[in-house]
Symmetry: C2
Subunit: 335 residues, 2 copies
Amino acid sequence: MQESLSIPDTEVRDAGFFRNRIEENLLKAIGHSSPEELYAPMRYMLSLGGKRMRPVLLLMSNEMFGGNFEEAMPAALAVEMFHNFTLLHDDIMDKAPTRRAQQTVHEKWNSNTAILSGDALFVQSVLEMGKCDEEKRGAVLRLFLNSALKVCEGQQLDMNFEKRNDVSLEEYISMIRLKTAVLIAASLQIGAMLADASPEEQKNIHAFGENIGIAFQLHDDLLDMYGDEKKTGKQTGGDILASKKTFLLIKALELADDSHRGEIRNLLSNKQLLPEIKIKLMKNIFDRLAVKEHATKSINEYFSNAFSVLEKINADEERKKILRDYVEGMRGREE
Amino acid sequence: MQESLSIPDTEVRDAGFFRNRIEENLLKAIGHSSPEELYAPMRYMLSLGGKRMRPVLLLMSNEMFGGNFEEAMPAALAVEMFHNFTLLHDDIMDKAPTRRAQQTVHEKWNSNTAILSGDALFVQSVLEMGKCDEEKRGAVLRLFLNSALKVCEGQQLDMNFEKRNDVSLEEYISMIRLKTAVLIAASLQIGAMLADASPEEQKNIHAFGENIGIAFQLHDDLLDMYGDEKKTGKQTGGDILASKKTFLLIKALELADDSHRGEIRNLLSNKQLLPEIKIKLMKNIFDRLAVKEHATKSINEYFSNAFSVLEKINADEERKKILRDYVEGMRGREE
């Protein structure tokens, strides 16, 4: 036997490493209890894949502040389970037929099963989060649950906005902060808490998370209109067809003069036009108003804010770089 | 001023006292955060009233083991909030138009609002439960959440049973144990935990709770068929019309010979008959098979088991009596 085959002591714990550990543990955390009709949809939902961004960020933050990733694993699984619970219930509310090119739970089973297995997935996420160190349990759960409540508030605002035509950019940002950014921020902060980071560092990593969370959502808004269908897996302009209030639409309405504004509103309410035509015409208006450039500028600002906060954080430089590189990678994503 | 007007030091803390304290605190615990569309349905649901049995039992158990009811109040509110969350989602799944003679949340608002405000109510219940003493938080939350998961399992089994014609009495009892009894048992045990009761006493009070929980559900089954509509506020025979597998129906199928069994099955699947006729005919069969007597016997057995366990518990006799009297009162209820 050759000595060179000995296993090295240290391993680079980067996004790939964390993601593999998460995938290994996620389905195991649900288990195979009965009745099968309750547990199978939970496992199905978690097996649809995804970037596992929240748990990866939690583990990276934990690592950066000197934590032990194995101890932080239940918390990482918990945020991913919670995120999937929100997707499961959101899909019912949005009547979405597919997710990641597969049937949604309420389509594959039915709405009742989707409601109930969502509820159970949420229960399991809190149970999982509760497995953390006893001394930190209270604070971790409070942050997790208060963030969960904000996610519900954000989802309700999003639904309210569907019925309104006067949503301001400020209101929109508040909504995506609640619906999307807060959970990303909480994931990073929980990672920090479990590594005994100071309250100041926790505040900073939370602010970092809020900024990248908003940037990611604005990037999603942009991909919906300007992304490559083959890469995103979603129909280009889907948000326009669903009359969703996104950064692009709200910014366009804000920039437009009265005549342009009328044109946008007519286009949105027009039910005769072919979808492709509707999207093409809207894109023309967006181009005239340079909405894409405004969105890109805004996204860059949020990332820039995030990275300024990250700079201030006193942590292992090499591990900070792993987090920065991961977020930079997500910034350039086309899917 | 007369001396006899001085306020006494002690107060009888009985069901009425606890219930008043619960009512005083329940809506306050939800608060008036925004968006209103999320919080108003939660407050509405909690304001529909009810017996508040779970929190009353929690506080009585806590008192019996020498606890302080004010310290146990958040846990009491938590179980009531959780119970209302399950009702809110169950009403969507059952497409129930009314609850306590008022519109259900999904009728008054819509399904999406009912799903989401239910989710938020659940989040708030766990937050409230987490307010308990730090030393006990881990164990209390584990019991609460594991019980919550069992409630979901019970609800799924109940839905599975709707599609089956061969549900055994044993399966039915397992289902109601999960769907109903486990949360009552957990409420009592949490009250005991917060009062530092021993593991043995906790086990006993949990067993007491499971037995009364099953008895209450069987009593509900009986009231559905034999109760007074004016008192129950529900249509007599509603379970039969909904083809629900209840103790009565399962017992009837078990007792019946082949010809009776065929008669029951035909009656259930008959969509031509007027509801009143269908119920009357089913009642005739039940009478011939003495199903009511069997149910009463079974209910008495569960209560008797419960009271035997209660006898074993080493606690203040006067307060044990308050708990026993309360349960006896619920046993005779006609609504």
